[in-house]
Amino acid sequence: MDPGVKLRLAGISKNFPGVRALDGVDVTLRSGTVHAIMGENGAGKSTLMKIINGLYRQDRGEIYLDGKKIEVSSPLKASELGIAMIYQELNYFPDLSIEENLFMRRYPTKGGFINWKGLRERTRAIFAENGVHYDPAVKIKELSVSNIQMLEILKAVAFKARIIIMDEPTSSISAKEVDHLFAVINRLRDSGVSILYISHKMDEIFRIADDITVLRDGRTITAGPADSFTEDSLITAMVGRPIENIYPKECLPLGEIFFEVRDFNSKGVFADINLQVRRGEIVGLAGLVGAGRTELACAVFGMDPYDSGEIRLDGKPLKIRSIGEAIRNGILMVSEDRKKFGVLPMRSIRENIAIASLRINRGKLVNLKRERLVSQRLFSSLNVKAPGLDAELGTLSGGNQQKVILARWLMVDSKVMIMDEPTRGIDVGSKFEIYSIMTRLVREKGVSIVMISSEMPELIGMSDRIYVMNKGRITGELRRDEFSQERIMVHATNAG
């Protein structure tokens, strides 16, 4: 057996009632490397990680650690074996302090009682060892997501993890924090830790990964060193067919100015915002996390109050005091926070699609026949993967939930569609479908789209024009022929 191999998965299969989630998957993780597991939503990545972490048991196949066959019977066993998982949704106790979270289940004791002094000392020692400067007594809820994530990683390292599994660690942190995270990952790698890394973001994968394994429909499709792949070959392997151009952009002749935001101000949030969107135009709104883009969108949509300013639709001033008024005027917003502002988890897909349209139709009753018809059409055309219209939305995967939420807003006749991070956390195939929908909306219905996104390739690929925001102000405006990541970054970091 190759001594450089840390963990080897051989022929892992896992069935759930009626479904084969994994079918003979092989993965070889080398010591001191970052190994990316790629695949669309539902390819089996999470199931595989849960098997490694002891949450599920495989039906067939073996796991070898340092050449020895192991049985990972529980997460506890996994952590004894030196395997740690950093979850996509972080597990912590918000009202407990950093040190309490760090040592949860491992509190040092003295005579059967918690040794608080020892706890503080050991926490300090861990921080000193890793060169971080947190106050051990601070409550977790006062920290940012990236700080909490960093603590999770520290925890893994402190308790002698040799294999760390990271499930979409960058999905909710800023670009700067990603740099910091990658620095930490590089340090870990140099110290011989092996990392299994799950992400949908191509640029990240090529920045950080040494090896790549691609899964599709529960099978290993291909595996090899990262530099043996290109972005295109990776997409083809994941999706199963080549996607010619992931951005199906059509540069159409644009209409007159249709939607305008004039002199928008909200004290301490954003200032002097002026935006113009033409009929059938896709306008990108770029900027760093915290630049005020989402806040601006919420104010325009009537969700948050603003201090002064004017909205004009088709040349006429519009007073929007509530979301209901925005929707009636055809101004819609697909929120960035799907879970909080989108999904009704316990209700059916059909009800979820129809909920925003109900207010617009006349009468007190629901037109069930029409509702079923229209939602079925959207359901099929968006290619939602679900058992049927009556499945509870909470049981679908993130990408499919996003499509259902999008269907909700497609059911409403829109004039202006604000899309806040419309493709966050969803796979390449679904992204492509969402871009295609955007293209159809502007071509067939002349809808004006404002797209907020933190993914620059997406902004550059889909927008006709890009506004860049920084610290609550618009600091730049780029035409399509001026687009470049560098230009956007310059505006996004300049004070204007």
Binding site: M303, P345, A391, T395
Partner: protein
């Protein structure tokens, strides 16, 4: 194929519990249980609490709770008796009760939505206020000799007790509203995820306000029937019904966290409790023992329901063509 059977069991778990219960009753008590008079008796006995349970169901679906309905039933019912005694005008007496119920609902709803106070606290306080008001008014006395008022509780139409007819009517009304009215959808959306409901353009504050008003009106109406059955206005008689209503709602499959639940489920839940009471009575079980048995069986029923629901969840997750990366719920 076995999946279909499972799906069927999951979907109708409360109905199955009810049928099993009835079967057990038939085996134990035989024809004493199955006699028409006994069955009608059960329906009559649960009518008041079922109407209150419909009120509670609506409120719980929106993710709130209304602890004032028992007290409001007592207050509005007793006031209504007083009005009837004074005027001998039945419609006026009933209308007074409903108006009182609506007024309480407005206050509950406004305080809860405009000041963001938890409904548990507001309606608990309202329970105390309602009791205080009615005892102050009656000086702690009951109102007797209410004459024809009692028809509402003791009368029959086509040999069916009038309370049962009211219960059935309200059941159909609520079931229709939840299924076919936009307002029903707004209730589910508000309870299922309030932020998402707001972002969809629903004024969840108004939805909650209206729900508490409906709850108050239904509670008052239940109070009218209760007093008519008792043939007296007894102010304290409504107390305790709010918890029975919660039980029936939960046994009927409504999620305590909001977002799910049906009127039919609640009706069945109420029947389960009613049948249980009935069989224990028929068997001559001592009433203290009855309470213990009832409580235990209700816990059992809810455990079964929660279990079957969690099973259903994992099954549908996997059924979603193995397309999920969200994994466990």
């Amino acid at each position: 194929m076995s999946n279909n059977i499972k799906a069927f069991i999951n979907r109708f778990s409360t109905v199955i519990i009810l049928l099993l219960l009835i079967l057990v009753c038939c085996l134990i008590a035989g024809d004493r249980f199955i006699r028409t008079t006994n069955l009608v008796n059960i329906a009559r006995q649960i009518a008041v609490v079922t109407i209150l349970s419909f009120a509670q169901t609506l409120v719980i679906v929106t993710g709130q709770i209304d602890l004032s309905i028992g007290a409001v039933a007592g207050m509005a019912g007793t006031f209504s008796c007083a009005v009837y005694v004074a005027t001998q005008n039945l419609p006026l007496a009933v209308a007074t009760a409903l108006a009182i119920g609506a007024a309480v609902g407005v206050v509950n709803g406004l305080v809860i939505t405009r000041f963001s106070v938890p409904s548990f606290i507001v309606t608990l306080a309202m329970q105390s206020i309602a009791m205080g008001v009615i005892f102050l008014y009656t000086k702690g006395n009951n109102i007797y000799t209410i004459g024809d008022y009692k028809v509402l509780g003791q009368g029959e139409f086509l040999r069916i007790p009038i309370p049962v007819l009211f219960m059935a009517g309200i059941w159909l009304l609520i079931a229709f509203m939840l299924k076919f009215c936009k307002f029903g959808r707004y209730l589910y959306a508000t309870g299922g995820n309030e932020h998402a409901a707001i972002a969809s353009g629903i004024s969840t504050k108004n939805v909650k306000l209206l729900t508490f008003i409906i709850s108050g009106v239904l509670a008052a109406f239940a109070g009218v029937i209760l007093m008519a059955r008792l043939n007296a206005g007894i102010p304290g008689e409504g107390i305790g019904y709010e918890t029975d209503a919660i039980m029936a709602t939960i046994v009927g499959g409504t999620s305590f966290t909001g977002g799910t639940g049906t009127a039919t489920g609640t009706l069945i839940g109420s029947f389960i409790i009613g049948v249980l009471n009935n069989i224990l009575n028929l068997q001559g079980v001592q009433s203290y023992v009855q309470q213990i048995v009832k409580g235990s069986l209700i816990i059992l029923a809810v455990i079964l329901d929660v279990y079957s629901k969690s099973r259903k969840r994992t099954i549908t997750i996997m059924d979603a063509a193995a397309m999920t990366t969200t994994g466990e719920r």
